[in-house]
């Protein structure tokens, strides 16, 4: 995918990737244990990773895993905001990805980068899957307003593009649509085949249910709820070029590692790098010692909702958390709203800690996810209040600090747990390995279509 949308390479055989990976795993006789949900990492006194604690999602059996190195690849925080449909699992990201990796890394003391850069996507309204204007774009399709006109130069996702989407809605020219109906039948068929086969296979079913035909109608889009992601966005657990986090022996790869816009290709590549470095690390180092009291404490935290007679089910804790995220954290970010939001989230945390109730292992899994979701919400608030600047279009937009401020904020932000509290600090941007051409430097500031004679 070219960053400004000049070309895109769809993966026509995307559905074969997972099978190929699985065959390799079987050939190498890697032990795979399913149904164990990791809940917390174990660390030694000197801050090295020592392993992880996991719970079986069917039997609630605990597992304590000792490991010399741990690679986290638990996906994006896709259940942070609530979809406008109100259906909690109608998410853009895989709905099983509830930000557990972010929460685990945070509690282990690892630094997380750029969490104030929210993922906000231009999705098919209600279906909440990608409209894929950037796939259809090279074929001649484009994002249009309610008059069927283009308003942005590039359909590829960026903070700036989303801001123009937002501006278009504010100006009364919404909704925004994906327009294909001006294209030749053969072109539309080709696009339709790619999108319905390679992206999400129920997309065709959705359009069928709505009687939407790409040949006749434009496809209605909307601005999604927020999430954290690095596959298609820019925030996650801080990693260096060897996929190492700030905790020794702990690695992160994929959507949850802060390698902006790395997608599947990046996930595989970084995963591979993580694997190789972790192998080397494990060869050079022995197991680290952890405190068994940490295990006992974690068991108590996990089982607390099973020890009540009455209470609030995890689905209500989750719904309320995510509804509050929508109400208070959805950009444009307003400081006063963030402060109010944090108060409301703190109240839900109280309820979660003191009144959440589960009655089976499935609900237990959901209750643990609710914890991660709330942790991510807190991190979203903390990082957002720290950056007193607007930077990457809608993802960062802060009404109280509406301008870009390179002098003070041309930097990453790192969030981490210190003495049990959330802290933020700046981190300098490393010198670019591939320089940006002068004419590309302000490309994103020129997204809106300009009339030219």
């Amino acid at each position: 995918m070219h960053h400004i949308g000049t070309y895109v390479l769809p993966m026509p055989n995307g559905e074969t990737v997972k099978k190929a990976v699985y065959r390799q795993l079987r050939r190498a006789r890697i032990l795979i244990s399913n149904r164990f949900m990791a809940t917390r990492l174990l660390t030694s006194k000197d801050g090295r990773v020592a392993g992880a604690i996991a719970v079986n999602t069917r039997t609630a059996e605990f597992l304590v895993l000792k490991a010399k190195a741990v690679i986290l690849c638990m996906g994006a925080a896709g259940r942070l905001g609530l979809p406008t449909s109100g259906y909690m699992f109608g998410t853009y990201e895989n709905a099983a990805n509830s930000g557990d990796g972010y929460a685990m890394a945070y509690h282990a003391g690892a630094a997380l980068a750029n969490l104030e850069c929210f993922q906000i996507n231009p999705l098919i309204k209600d279906y909440n899957g990608p409209a894929c204007a950037y796939v259809a774009g090279p074929f001649g399709a484009y994002t249009a307003n309610n008059q069927g006109s283009r308003f942005i130069e590039c359909d590829y996702w960026s903070g700036q593009m989303m801001l123009e989407f937002y501006n278009e809605l504010q100006s009364g020219k919404g909704p925004v649509f994906l327009k294909l109906n001006h294209l030749h039948e053969n072109t539309i068929s080709e696009i339709e085949h790619t999108l319905h086969k390679v992206e999400r296979p129920t997309r065709g079913l959705f359009h069928e249910g709505r009687n939407t035909d790409y040949r006749k109608e434009m496809i209605e889009m909307h601005i999604s709820e927020i999430g954290f992601c690095s596959g298609h966005s820019a925030s996650g657990v801080f990693v260096d070029e060897f996929a190492r986090t700030t905790v020794r022996g702990l690695y992160a790869a994929g959507d949850m590692a802060s390698v902006p816009h790395n997608y599947m290709l990046g996930a595989f590549t970084n995963g591979s790098i993580a694997g190789e470095d972790a192998m080397g690390f494990a060869q050079e180092n022995d197991f680290a010692e952890f405190d068994t009291a940490d295990v006992a404490r974690e068991k108590e935290r996990v089982l607390a909702p099973t020890r009540r007679e009455d209470g609030i089910p995890p689905n209500q804790i989750e719904y309320k958390t995510r509804r509050l995220v929508n109400d208070y954290l959805q950009p444009p970010k307003v400081t006063r709203k963030f402060e109010l939001g944090q108060k409301r989230l703190d109240e839900v945390r109280d309820d979660m800690n003191n009144a959440m109730l589960v009655q089976n292992a499935h609900e237990l899994m959901r209750s643990l996810e609710a914890h991660s979701i709330l942790d991510c919400a807190d991190m979203a608030v903390s990082a957002s209040l720290y950056r007193t600047e607007s930077r990457w279009g809608l993802y960062h937009l802060r009404t109280d600090y509406p301008e870009k401020d390179n002098e003070n904020w041309f930097c990453h932000t790192l969030l981490r747990k210190q003495d049990g509290r959330m802290t933020n600090e700046k981190r300098a941007v490393a010198p670019y390995i591939v320089p940006i051409a002068d004419e590309e430097k302000d490309l994103y500031d020129k997204q809106r279509i300009r009339a030219s004679a």
């Binding site: 149904r35 999602t57 069917r58 979809p83 449909s85 109100g86 259906y87 909690m88 699992f89 109608g90 998410t91 895989n94 709905a95 099983a96 209600d126 279906y127 909440n128 999400r200 296979p201 129920t202 079913l205 959705f206 249910g209 709505r210 007679e309 009455d310 209470g311 089910p313 109730l357 009655q359 499935h362 899994m365 959901r366």
Partner: protein
Amino acid sequence: MPLAATHTTVPVVVDDAKCIADKGCTVCVDVCPLDVLRISDLTGKAYMAYDECWYCMPCEADCPTGAVKVNIPYLLR
């Protein structure tokens, strides 16, 4: 904790006539990324136990007898 009895629609529907869960098949249950399908003790057939669906299709695609149908959840349809 009260159990509020309200009817609900669920996105995934199983045709009991085609389902062979009673013969030991657990494919749909195994492939669901959200773990929301179960085999009923009463009927011996698969069904959607939790309305937590990502409408992602592995259950329908992998069912060996074509017994599973994924619908778009009512709230989004």
